[in-house]
Amino acid sequence: MIIKAKNLTRTYPTKIPCLALKGVDFSIKQGEFTAIMGRSGCGKSTLLHQLGLLDIPTTGELFIDETNILKLSEAEKSHFRLKKLGYVFQEYALSPELTALESVYLPLMLQGTGKEEYLAKAAEVLGKVGLDKRLNHLPGELSGGEQQRVAVARAIVNNPKILFADEPCANLDSESSDLVMKLFQELNQKLGQTIVMVTHEPEDKKYAGHIIWLKDGLLEREEK
């Protein structure tokens, strides 16, 4: 199992403590395309944040690639995220001052990859997502769909063990959404990329081989 969650809870310390996850158990196998689904406010994004080490569970256990995540220091978590995880956010989240190529090679730079290698790798990955002619364009010069494909390229450039996506098509038109989802499908089917995606679009179910349904912070059911 690449992800194993045991009795995962998350309480936000607001005036009236908000129990967003109430104890969730599940496992995800390597190479699976998992969709986390459910109504708004059911805890989908909260769960993704815990899995992606963007937030800390209040209680429970979480193993990713056989590492007990809750025992990692902040620096170790940063390193873990850099080496093993990739993220695609809802709103592209690209730096306005970096070209497509620079955005994509940044994680490789962080890993200490040599210049020639990171330039070649970033260009190759951008080619894979169909942006080989937009390498030196800034985000402001790209469409929403193109920006999201740059974000996907950035997320996969360091060959992560798991690719997390938080409603990646929420801000895209249907054509761009199809392109991004087909890209995910291709990554999963051709390269065996493990993908965990939060979505509220029922039609996205067709891309996922494993669906986790959440309701009111609890695991309602799993579909495989």
Binding site: G52, S78, L82, Y87, E97, L98, P107, M109, R154
Partner: protein, 408 residues
């Protein structure tokens, strides 16, 4: 470490080269002005102190002043003393003065009506000696300087004549011109008439309230010979006065009081001390303003990039890399600001004040840029900028990824 530095540098470089150019120019300009603000006041105060010192050395006291010993009115055997002093290597020369108070009367219409009077000091000078010591002979603005053999001639400062922009015009003789007759009643009761041969303007009130007559004339008034109220001594190296004073004493000049010019700068010294405090306060305020400015610039920058910072952390970038990139940006702003400020200060402001010096009661004042002050200002501004850049970026980088990206 080097890899992390490279990433910080990369982020900073892109933020600077592709960020908002208006913000960049404005920030650099603000820092340049902060630098000028930090440098201008110390330079002005240095200029004031330098002007006061130069005026005192060049026109009033020279470097060393020898006065009569206790219970003596005059120094005796002056020629002998001057020969001894002048034989010391490094001594440029000495000049003996008689200083006497006198009441000046000016009857402009020579009819005994509306006679203007006032009391000022009269100093006798040995023309040859004096020209080696003071620069008053260069400051005659009307008429001529005294000459050997002048017995009934006098030169007066503009504060006595009441002309040439006199600062104390109300206490002057209100409009004395070269060629006018003045009646002087000396402290010993002797009254003599003098023709005004020249009027000088040293731009120093203390000098410009004096009048000069020749040594021979004064000796005839006082009925004295080879004596002096003071001997002033000029040496080659200002600052070496104590060494020369020791030397003079070792040569047997022990009855007389020997002092450095700095001992006569009582009021000026307290002003200089006050200037140092004022300078410190202004520099501290200037630095605080600069630090707050850069803090605001980086803070606004960071607030606008809160989400970006969250994303960078999410992809595995450590906090220190992010903070370092903002510190590098601050460093860039500070260095550009200091550089621009330095250019403006040295190639625009200082030359302007050399061409159009400020007029103070003790003389004209230029800006004196002290390299040490400049270095301290530059370094302080850079450090203040780094702190101003560090605090907001550190706070932003410490924020949780969730808060940074989605805000709460």
């Amino acid at each position: 470490m080097i890899k992390d530095l490279k990433v910080s540098y990369f982020l900073a470089l892109k933020a600077i080269t592709r960020g908002n150019k208006g913000t960049l120019i404005l920030t650099v300009l603000i820092l340049a002005l902060s630098f000028i603000n930090l440098s201008f006041i110390p330079s002005l105060l240095s200029g004031v102190v330098d002007s006061m010192n130069k005026q005192s050395v060049n026109n009033l006291f020279a470097n060393i002043i020898i006065e009569p010993g206790e219970d003596e009115t005059y120094i005796k055997r002056v020629s002998n003393l001057q020969s001894k002093i002048n034989s010391v290597p490094g001594v440029i020369g000495s000049s003996a003065h008689y200083d006497v108070g006198a009441v000046f009367s000016y009857d402009e219409d020579r009819n005994g009506k509306d006679v203007k009077t006032g009391s000022w000091g009269v100093r006798s000078i040995n023309l040859e000696d004096e020209k080696r010591i003071t620069t008053t002979y260069q400051m005659v603005v009307e008429g001529e300087y005294l000459e050997e053999g002048n017995r009934d001639k006098i030169i007066i400062g503009k504060e006595i004549s009441g002309t040439y922009g006199s600062e104390l015009e109300h206490r002057s003789l209100k409009g004395v011109k070269v060629g006018d007759e003045l009646t002087l009643t000396f402290n010993n009761g002797i009254q003599r008439e003098y023709e005004v041969k020249g009027i000088f303007n040293s731009k120093n009130v203390q000098v410009d309230t004096m009048a000069f007559i020749t040594e021979r004339e004064m000796e005839s008034v006082l009925k004295l010979n080879d004596r002096a109220s003071e001997i002033i001594v000029k040496i080659e190296q200002t600052g070496e006065e104590d060494r020369y004073i020791e030397k003079f004493r070792s040569m047997g000049i022990v009855k007389e009081e020997i002092k450095s010019w700095t001992e006569y700068m009582g009021m000026a010294q307290s002003m200089i001390k006050s200037f140092a405090i004022v300078k410190l306060i202004l520099v501290a305020i200037g630095l605080l303003v600069a630090a707050i400015t850069i803090f605001i610039v980086i803070f606004v920058n960071v607030v606008n990039r809160r989400k970006q910072i969250g994303i960078l952390k999410a992809i595995g970038m450590r906090e220190e890399i992010i903070v370092r990139s903002y510190i590098l940006q601050s460093f860039f702003y500070a260095v550009c600001g200091v550089g621009l400020g330095f250019i403006l200060m040295n190639f625009l402001i200082v030359p302007y004040f050399i061409a159009y010096p400020l007029s103070f009661p003790f003389g004209l004042v230029n800006l004196i840029v002290n390299p040490r002050d400049l270095f301290v200002s530059s370094l302080s501004l850079i450090v203040a900028s780094l702190i101003g850049g560090f605090i907001p970026s550190w706070r932003a980088a410490k924020e949780s990824i969730i808060n940074a990206i989605w805000g709460s």
